[in-house]
Amino acid sequence: MKHLFAPAMAIAWKDLYAEWKTKQTITTMLIFSGLVIVTFSFAFDPSNQAVSALVPGMIWVITIFSGILGLNRSFMQEKQNDHLHGLMVAPVDPSAIYLGKCMANLVFVLLVQLISVPLLFLLFDFHVITGVGLIYFVMIVFLGTFGFIAVGTLLAALATHSKSSEMLLPILLFPLVTPIVIAAVQATRIVLVDQEGVSAALSWMQLMAAYDVIFFVVGFLLFEHVLEV
């Protein structure tokens, strides 16, 4: 454990601090999500009730696509000065690298959601959710994002060995994240649009939780083999 959690925290801190200094990844992710929101807010009439049905899908479009931008950079920057080898020669459990990267990537995507989701609600004149609905919404966003990051971090590490990693990551990622995207969109739609059936979102949330556990454990166990490729 000594060689797992402390190095994982150090790696996560390093990524967050480097981002704080350079602001490259977050800026790119925010610009992308801002563009999506502004484009769609002009393409559809926000006063039309039917348009509100788009919002759950848009939350996940922003999450997935801006997340891919962040995931790509997450390991590309480690290739610059052979940083991965620097981590591998240290007395660090390879899973600590996965854990640290997952933590940093999760923070980046949650930060983008924290800024872009209120903006999306504002520009689409969406009603403010409160109470139980808000708690459910936050849990759904977290579960969906965590599952996406758990798979994405593992595949980003795998794709980084390829010269065309930016193209390879989405190709590897989309088949694997499809179940969690479907579950996340469905659960978000229930909570945001069909508020009376909030309890129906629970089954989708259970599916997301199971997906998260399975893919996080798989990523955790397989990461050392990914590094050896």
């Binding site: 200094k21 591998m88 007395p91 050896e228």
Partner: protein, 233 residues
């Protein structure tokens, strides 16, 4: 003590190492020489744990290397072709990060001392993206010895260093050697070999072609050893 027994490494269809048997005792300083593609860096990476051998064993203190034996990893310092340093960070921030990875307790004093030792005192808090190749190499040296390893694996460590930095680095290595640190250095820099190393191992086509003690030998003798053995086909 480091021992490799019958190490082979094949990448694709190319056999890079063909059964390397080499034993290096604690405190020895050994130069690994050979032409490009002889397998020097590959052997060093296998010893450092960065590459897995196709067959054979790596023994550290007589025990086969295990992937989760972090105490052995803790005792090893590795300086590769790349610095492993983060460009957005200053020297202090970089060394702090590696101190956290190696879980050093109260590393501040050692970090500042090392930065002073490698002659980067005036640039302690500057992001290293503006550093020259030589300055980065100086900091990479500090990174490799930050955790006070007792085995130091160096892959062409003098690359990019100016004369002042070379003598500074050599002095550092000689101090470490006097403290009993094992130094294994892959290099083509013959004058540095004669200054630092006691023994030269010459690899040719993935095999050990020569293994000689070079203490007190002139550089010209090492040259003739290398020319005679490493370049003969």
């Amino acid at each position: 003590m480091i021992e490799t027994i019958g190490i082979t490494k094949t990448i694709g269809e190319k056999m890079i190492l063909r059964g390397v048997n080499l034993r290096i005792n604690q405190g020895e300083s050994v130069a690994i020489l050979g032409t490009n593609g002889a397998g020097k860096s590959t052997w060093l990476k296998i010893v450092a744990g960065l590459l897995k051998q196709s067959s054979g064993d790596v023994l550290l203190d007589g025990v086969p290397r295990k992937k989760d034996d972090y105490s052995k990893q803790q005792r090893m310092g590795y300086l590769g072709h790349q610095s492993f340093l983060y460009e957005a960070f200053s020297p202090v921030e970089n060394l702090h990060f590696f101190a956290k990875l190696y879980q050093l307790k109260s590393p501040d004093e050692r970090i500042h001392k090392l930065i002073d030792d490698v002659g980067l005192s005036f640039f302690k808090h500057e992001p290293i993206r503006s550093f020259s190749r030589g300055m980065i190499q100086r900091l990479a040296i500090a990174r490799a010895i930050l955790h006070e390893p007792n085995v130091l694996l160096l892959d062409e460590p003098h690359t990019g260093l100016d004369q002042q930095a070379v003598s500074l680095f050599n002095r550092l290595l000689l101090d470490l050697k006097a403290e009993g640190v094992t130094i294994i250095m892959v290099t083509h820099d013959f004058p540095q070999i004669s200054t630092i190393c006691d023994r030269a191992v010459i690899l040719r086509k993935g095999r050990i072609a020569e293994d000689e003690w070079i203490q007190g030998r002139p550089v010209s003798w090492i040259h003739s050893l290398y020319d005679g053995e490493a370049l003969s086909s």
